[in-house]
Subunit: 646 residues, 2 copies
């Protein structure tokens, strides 16, 4: 491990703590009440929690501002994961304003997500028609590529709790597919590929990779339970278009984050639990874990050749990517590159040359040269360790890395509550022995305990080095107090100059994990639907009515402000009612809502959209169904009356 401490005392304030963290040290810190998680490296107490309006540290005099005048539009879309809110959030940047939230895994009573038949079909239901899952924990979101940059088609997002991956269409910002991945648990990192590994004509995303964090029995049906040594993790490939699971790879250790190469040949995951331990002390017992590279073309050839197994009820082919089965580099499906202790984060540099793993329990970042990994797979490099071209010290608790497109990397230091800006080529020189290579460029204190960060277009060849967002997990005293649950703090940093400048604090509902920042011209939205997109559309008010087939009743109606086409409709107690509502208003932004009291039904219909709900009319009486989305001067008067006869 290289170190630059002695040269950068100003940038690394407490050299004494900058040592490799070992098991005993961290366990001790944990026992002492989590001081490791909450104290800054400087060992200064953070400001008191009481409101202090006068406090206006740093950056006040800086030219860049996130404050847009009224009516001014943001320059970037921020696509944010929502954490355990289960949604995707769309921010405008640099203002930091949340423009919309896209319901994905969890029900949303505004949109009617999990209430309408159309959304339930995407979310998945049990035999009784109720939702299969009602909680989720989204961590990572990444968008589809073409020619090395975003093409504005899709973004994907994961659910760690239930092992699902979802796709959001970026033209309408709606989820259209959710896939549950078999035989995994704690599915964490995802990343789309950027090109095909074999066909040079395919320069856009056709696969998404997913890493399972927790090892489990295969299959996990209760037939073997306690023998942790037999638990395993799978690395998964999902088809970007069909969203079907293409294949899985059985590995040693676990998966965490995922990165993909620009040439489509490699995907990688960092592994913090090569020990396959069940307790945190076991998981951090080894001094080295791994960044594991998958050779996509070889894996897909193996699948074609029938060299796979399946587990349990799943029909997904699973190739063997364990160390034991992949000893010969020339045929190996996988390469395990050793990196220091419990790494977190693996990020591809925009020059397409490197993956960078942050050390988490090691104060280092490891730079792995992709050309050398391919050399190893080709049998041209004897020692896999030689793929590591730098392993340099950055500070305590390095987690994730972003890029400015000018050769600099920005890494969050969780324990130091800092972002460190460092130059990748200088780090490589330093690692190679040039102790005059000044790789640390700048450090910025952030508030507090940063996890993910990302820079504008950082994950593309168009990284433009303008803005950096830092997802701080603790906000403490940065916002008006609102009781025991604090928001997180997404801080905005201007990275256009040599020095980083903190520009703004943005509170966010816990807890976004990862996010990307996309130039606004990369996304082209559709603002009004087409009636023909909906096979069940009620295209004319004259088609409205109540249609009975035994005790199955279909109610068709349309909305045109300020009225629904049926002013009343009658059903009988016990009927299974399917209500289909088309919004015939065409004007952009003229959305209507539809709520039925006591029936747990609410949803919206956007201009020219159709949605349907199915429910049992089990409560006799009069129910005023009303428009829940302000639409017109007579919005309050916009109702229809459902009469349920005894």
């Amino acid at each position: 491990m290289s170190t630059q401490d002695t040269q950068h005392d100003d940038l690394t304030p407490v050299p004494g703590r900058r040592k490799f963290l070992n098991t005993a040290a961290l366990a001790g810190l944990a026992g002492a009440g989590l001081s490791v998680g909450l104290s800054s490296c400087k060992q200064e107490a953070p400001p008191a929690a009481a409101p202090a309006a006068g406090a206006a540290p740093a950056a006040a005099s800086h030219g860049a501002s996130p404050h847009l005048a009224p009516g001014q539009l943001d320059e970037y879309y921020g696509i944010w994961s929502g954490g355990h809110t289960g949604d995707m959030r769309i921010l405008g940047l640099p203002s930091g304003r949340e423009i919309t939230r896209v319901p994905v895994f969890n029900p949303d009573p505004l949109v009617g997500w999990g209430i309408t038949n159309e959304s339930k079909a995407i979310m998945g239901t049990k035999a009784d028609g109720s939702l299969r899952y009602t909680v989720a924990d989204t961590h990572h979101t990444h968008a589809s590529y073409k020619d090395g940059t975003y093409d504005g088609r899709y973004a994907w997002i994961n659910d760690k709790i239930n092992g699902r991956i979802a796709r959001v269409k970026l033209d309408t910002f709606e989820c259209d597919k959710i896939t549950e991945i078999p035989n995994v648990q704690g599915f964490h990192g995802i990343f789309p590929d950027k090109a095909d590994p074999v066909d040079p004509a395919i320069t856009h995303t056709t696969r998404v990779f997913a890493g399972a964090e927790f090892s489990i029995p295969l299959p996990n049906d209760g037939s073997h339970l306690n023998d942790v040594d037999t638990y395993r993790s799978l690395f998964t490939c999902v088809d970007a278009e069909t969203m079907a699971v293409r294949w899985q790879a059985l590995i040693d250790g676990n998966c965490d984050l995922v990165a993909t190469s620009y040439d489509g040949k490699l995907a990688a995951t960092n592994q913090y639990n090569t020990e396959m331990g069940a307790k945190y002390e076991d998981m951090m017992s080894a001094e080295k874990d791994a960044c594991t590279f998958f050779h996509i073309a070889r894996i897909e050839q193996a699948v074609k050749d029938g060299k796979f197994k399946t587990y349990g009820d799943s029909k997904v082919p699973v190739v063997d990517a364990t160390r034991e089965a992949n000893k010969d580099p020339k045929t190996a499906l996988v390469a395990y590159v050793p990196v220091p202790k419990n790494p977190h984060g693996v990020n591809a540099s925009p020059d397409a040359k490197y993956f960078i793993c942050a050390g988490k329990l090691s104060p280092t970042a490891t730079v792995i040269e992709l050309g050398k990994v391919l050399d190893w797979f080709d049998g041209k490099l004897e020692d896999i360790k030689a793929t590591v071209v730098a392993e340099v010290e950055l500070g305590l608790g390095p987690l994730h890395t972003a890029f400015d497109g000018r050769g600099n990397a920005f890494t969050t230091l969780f324990l130091d509550s800092q972002v460190v800006k460092w130059n990748v080529e200088a780090a490589i020189k330093f690692h190679a022995g040039d102790k005059n290579a000044q790789y640390v460029v700048d450090r910025l204190d952030v508030q507090y305990q940063p996890g993910h960060l990302n820079a504008s277009q950082s994950e593309t060849r168009e990284a433009d080095g303008k803005w950096l967002c830092v997802g701080c997990k603790f906000s403490k005293d940065r916002f008006l107090p609102v009781g025991p649950l604090h928001p997180e703090n997404e801080q905005l940093v201007d990275i256009s100059g040599e020095k980083m400048k903190l520009i703004a604090d943005h509170p966010v509902r816990p807890e976004p994990h990862d996010f990307i920042i996309v130039k606004r011209d990369r996304i082209k939205t559709r603002q009004v639907y087409n009636l023909d997109e909906f096979p069940n559309a009620v295209k004319d008010p004259k088609e409205s009515g109540v249609f009975r087939n035994g005790n199955k009743v279909t109610v068709k109606l349309v909305s045109q402000a300020p009225a629904f086409s049926l002013r009343e409709f009658t059903v009988k107690k016990g009927d299974e009612v399917t209500l289909i509502l088309t919004n015939l208003d065409k004007v952009e932004d003229l959305t209507h809502g539809f709520a039925i009291p006591k029936y747990n039904i609410n949803f919206i219909v956007n201009p020219l959209e159709t949605k349907s709900v199915t429910f049992k009319a089990d409560k006799p009486g009069v129910y005023w169904c009303y428009c829940t989305h302000f639409c017109h001067a007579l919005h309050l008067e916009m109702r229809t009356r459902m009469i349920v006869e005894k």
Copy 2:
């Protein structure tokens, strides 16, 4: 109706449209595709929807700014209703940043609201233990008073869909009570009282009033359905402390918004459907509707005297507040003050003298003097119409009114997409015949179609006239496009000077209705719980374990970063498991989460908080329960293993 058009041509750009809207006109506009709802009074097309970064209209050079430097705290809490997201939102102002969302009526998978046993007990469950309601539509939120201003104890919020009122404790920003109001539908406006009507020692809130918007059969059990003329609305009084329904009042017509007098003697609701029509054309057939005043002391005496009925299963006493039963002012429980056509909004001025009703379908605001209403109840005023001291023209579609504490009112004009600032005393003079009284002070175009608005401390005697927020229902082109569903636009206006100045646009998820703006020193939060607040707290890691009683199993554990006290626990398929988790971490902001894969369980525990969940262990296998709330450098490693034996 008075008019000031000829004097203020500059402020009322299209006098030709400023006429009383009649049924035919609005119906025609509705038929023509809602131009009434979407065109501005100026009949200029709004800017195109395409992004236009250069656009920076107005206010750019103004001194006041909502932009806080990093670390700077807001001056006001904004307490916002969330509309059909069913929650309450807490904003910081002037920054407009959303600091937290308080789950109330709808499940929240982050907090575990609707998942934990504690939250389910507040939300209400069916016999099978599932949630009674999963959708809601919050409209109005108002906070508790003492001595005419906010005392920081509670805020209340309504659910229009299912007729519920909830209370949020403002020390922890958590909902602690939800009450379903019997025999109402479309329950809309709420307002707490500000003093007791009889006991002068009680100068704080002890009641909350609630207005039911939709008339229904009483009881609504299917025994009579179609005869709309028999449907009725009730005005409801809820006890502020116990949250039990104290009494209801049967009225003619419907209820809408609610206001209360500073002396505690009067509550009022505006009525847009005195016609008791079932269709919007019927609802707008009369030229006058009403603002209806309730004499609280008399109503409560009538209840004491046993002068009430009950309906259906409800035991709540219902007094008769119909016109027929209240003809003699000296004994009347209610006074119906005629106001123009389908009024919307009733607001109390901070000088405690007036209630103001906005006309909605009339371009007017009506000023009602409370002293005169009391005079009428005392038999000192013959004609109830004499309580109206001004009825002046403001513009098209007036909805709601806020105040600056300097004698000025600010009213939203939905159709004109404007806020009009007007002087109340000047309006009274103008109405009294002084045609030189210039009551319109200023007009400001807003973007677009404003509903509610409110000013800092406007609903208290401490209205300070600094900031005004305007809830615009349409945002169209004001933010980066995100597909068919647009955010709403909460605009911030500086009202400290004579002219209003638009300062910022804030997108918000649809759809906030009402909100209040509270000086930050009025709210004192508690940032860490006390273990003793939770009777089931696991106070020591040694108390952890699995405790079996037949097939009922209790799992007790604690969280202390980076570990749960049990590293694994075993239950049997078919067990009913109650899991109790106490967070023994004491550090502010150190929240942990707890998710069980495939079991639809996720919740958080804040520092020193205890929560529990109960579920059936119906799926054998290994389930890694993990911390979902980033807590520590070893957060990812923080897990416990639930083993479900076959």
